[in-house]
């Protein structure tokens, strides 16, 4: 009798030690936001930019949404898909968050989306562009405030047609985001009568581009379309310029090629044309206010990822305010979010039926260290959301 009592006490102590979160979750009145973003490794700076942008809007709201104080829980997703389910589970099952905001890496985001669907957790995706997230995997509780891989690349197809390019070579890493980008480009480009002469891929994250540059020089296409990002984008553009190809064969790509990479590229990036849903020098008051405030708060310039984080907060705030903080009214909240007009620094947008932004895609040109806006290529471009049954 006595021993079993002690045993039970021990177990209870053990249980309380292990479960600090249960007591926390019991507190009412707070709105728990779970950030599942990369805070270490290659994408760490993107994770931080998204977090900063999100918090900036929450601060503008005085730290509250729908009358509830916003509280953050953070998990480093390490951009590792193998840990994605577990990390999402951590936020949902341990920390009992009201909403998850994440992430950058598409593979991780796909896994998160699955978990969110299974557990019916509200998920706001502030970056990862895999088409499926608002395509085959679309769900009432899954939102994306960034872009689909399809959007900027499809728009680029039209840009290159307008610029009278006929034969184009494409190059990207062999992984799904790159392949989706190329597919979207090809769709628009070949629909308009262009021809993709050769689709080349290299193993991710290999950056020995020289053999491909030689191949491109031999094929002599009218232009080249690539998807690369981060350090790979820097090296590719530098190599492309150094091989003397930039002057004879123009290079295009979705905006990730020149976003967050221009400083490292130096002058190599000058004059490159890319497409994205955001640009420097947009003529709208919202953007100016956003940028000024961001620069003051964080002592650095915001980028597209900060904008996406900011808009994630705007979308959530709209939903929470719509139900006056009562997250129990999920259907109503989703309804509000679906119809909300997000006054984004990129230009106002609304969500499509599949919960992806219907947004303008800008053509931008690299001038100095900025991606200066040239024109709107595609007005209110809607992702086709293939496979979405919503």
């Amino acid at each position: 009798m006595k021993t079993s009592g002690i045993l039970r006490n021990c177990l209870a102590v053990l249980a309380t030690l292990l479960l600090p979160a249960t007591t926390l979750a019991a507190e009412d009145g707070k709105l728990k936001v779970g950030f599942m973003l990369p805070y270490s490794g290659t994408y760490a700076s993107l994770g931080h930019a998204i977090t900063n942008g999100f918090k900036q809007h929450v601060d503008e709201l005085g730290g509250k949404m729908g009358g509830r104080t916003v509280e953050y829980v953070t998990v480093d997703d390490e951009s590792d898909p193998a840990k994605a389910t577990e990390n999402a589970g951590k936020l949902i099952k341990r920390d009992k968050v009201d909403v998850i905001v994440g992430t950058v890496h598409s593979g991780v985001a796909l896994a998160m989306t699955r978990v969110a669907r299974e557990t019916n957790t509200l998920l706001i995706n502030p970056n990862a562009g895999a088409d499926e997230i608002t395509g085959a995997l679309c769900a009432p509780n899954v939102f994306r405030v960034s872009f689909s891989a399809w959007q900027p690349s499809y728009a680029m197809g039209n840009v290159m047609l307008e610029r009278k390019h006929k034969n184009v070579v494409t190059l990207t890493w062999k992984y799904s985001f790159g392949e989706q980008s190329v597919a979207a480009f090809k769709e628009a480009f070949e629909k308009g009568g262009g021809k993709v002469v050769k689709e080349m891929t290299l193993p991710f994250p290999n950056t020995e581009f020289q053999p491909y540059l030689t191949e491109i020089a031999a094929l002599k296409p009218d232009a080249v379309f690539v998807f690369f990002s981060g350090a790979g984008a820097v090296k590719f553009v530098k190599d492309y310029v150094a091989a003397g190809l930039k002057t004879s064969i123009p290079l295009y790509g979705p905006g990730f090629l020149t976003d967050g990479t221009l400083e490292a590229m130096g002058d190599a990036g000058n004059g490159l044309l890319t497409t994205l849903h955001y640009a420097d020098g947009l003529d709208n008051a919202k953007d100016k206010a956003f940028r000024t405030r961001y620069a003051i708060t964080y002592k650095m310039q915001p980028d597209v990822f900060a904008v996406q984080g900011y808009d994630a907060a705007q979308l959530l705030a709209a939903g929470v305010a719509g139900v006056k903080g009562d997250l129990g009214k999920r259907a109503e909240m989703v309804n509000v979010m679906e119809t909300a007009k997000i006054d984004s620094p990129r230009g106002a947008f609304q969500l499509s039926k599949a919960h992806n932004p219907i947004q303008d895609i800008y053509l931008r040109k690299v001038e100095g260290r900025e991606n200066k806006v040239i024109s709107v290529v595609s007005k209110a471009l809607t992702d086709p959301a293939r496979g979405c049954k919503m």
Partner: protein, 322 residues
């Protein structure tokens, strides 16, 4: 008496594990399940590293191959009985280990480490670069395998608690199986190979066959761990075969102490607990992890499993000094 002291902590630990889901949150139940899976994975690697002296740096390959076998063998939406899907995916891992083993076991030492890595990298790129298994995005399981006994559904693997007990039962079985295996003459021959392969050859043993056998068994058990991992997460990704994964499990084995069966289990629990603790810090958690690992090397040769022996030695020494 010593026997009692040796087995008592294990029985107590098992008892705690048995009642754990009644107290723990679902998240922790799943976390412990994940830890047990890592323990199986690490035990399988320890068969090679600790018992036979073969340091494999590509063990994640078999973990991942078995994992991929599930979605590849079960067309979308089909609900499948575990009684055939489990053995078949473990068999797939065993077969891969057998095939690769024939090649890699010709090399020794550091070369063995690197050739096992090379084959694992090939397997990684096979799944990452080709459409065979959904490419870099991986594949999701539409439904988990069913466990039916005499036509009745005994366990639903959609339920975390059921998975937990399923994993626990298998962990204990694997542990007992290996304890038995290592006590047979087969086990003794393996240990003989580790300490002096030339002698074993001189004694007339075809050591290659024994090494191939244990390499295959280790691959199969790594496959079992991979299978369970997929049952737990419902998701297969090429990262499961990445070299970090092979590195991590090696880390777990070393942390726990090589050449023991309980070492990898202790290592798994310590590794996961440490990771959970460090990740709670969010910022700079890898720094904490890195420093801890370095300290382990300096302060804990022989891993965690060697602590009791070290303590005993110190106590005996202390008694002598008195």
């Amino acid at each position: 008496m010593t026997r009692f002291f040796r087995t008592f902590p294990m029985i107590a630990a098992l008892a705690v594990l048995l009642v754990f889901p009644m107290f723990g949150q679902i998240f922790y139940t799943e976390l412990v399940a994940k830890t047990l899976i890592l323990a199986i994975f690490a035990m399988s690697l320890d068969l090679l590293v600790g018992y036979t002296g073969l340091v494999s740096f590509g063990h994640a390959a078999y973990f991942g191959i078995a994992a991929y076998a599930i979605p590849l063998l079960t067309p979308a939406g089909a609900v499948n009985a575990i009684w055939w899907i489990l053995p078949v995916s473990v068999l797939a891992a065993a077969l891969a280990a057998l095939l690769i083993g024939v090649f890699v076991l010709r090399t020794k030492g550091i070369y063995f480490i690197m050739v096992t890595l090379a084959f694992a990298q090939m397997a990684f790129f096979l799944f990452h670069d080709t459409d065979l298994g959904g490419g870099s995005d991986g594949i999701f399981l539409n439904s988990k395998p069913t466990v039916t006994v005499f036509g009745l559904e005994a366990l639903t693997l959609e339920n975390p608690t059921h998975i937990y007990y399923f994993v626990l039962a298998l962990t204990v079985s694997v542990y007992l199986l290996l304890r038995w295996l290592l006590k047979t003459s087969f086990g003794h021959i393996l240990i003989g190979i580790r300490s002096n392969e030339h002698r074993m050859v001189a004694m007339g043993y075809n050591t290659f066959h024994y090494k191939l056998a244990i390499f295959t068994i280790a691959g199969a058990l790594a496959g079992l761990a991979g299978f369970l991992q997929v049952v737990l997460t419902g998701f297969v990704t090429p990262e499961m075969l990445a070299w970090h994964q092979s590195g991590n499990v090696l880390l777990v084995v070393i942390l726990g102490g090589i050449g023991t069966l309980i070492g990898p289990v202790l290592g798994a629990f310590t590794f996961i607990a440490l990771q959970e603790f460090a990740q709670g810090l969010v910022d700079r958690w890898q720094l904490v992890m890195g420093i801890f690992i370095i300290l382990v090397v300096f302060a804990l040769p022989g891993g965690l499993a060697a602590i009791p022996a070290r303590l005993r030695r110190r106590l005996v020494k202390g008694a002598d000094n008195d």
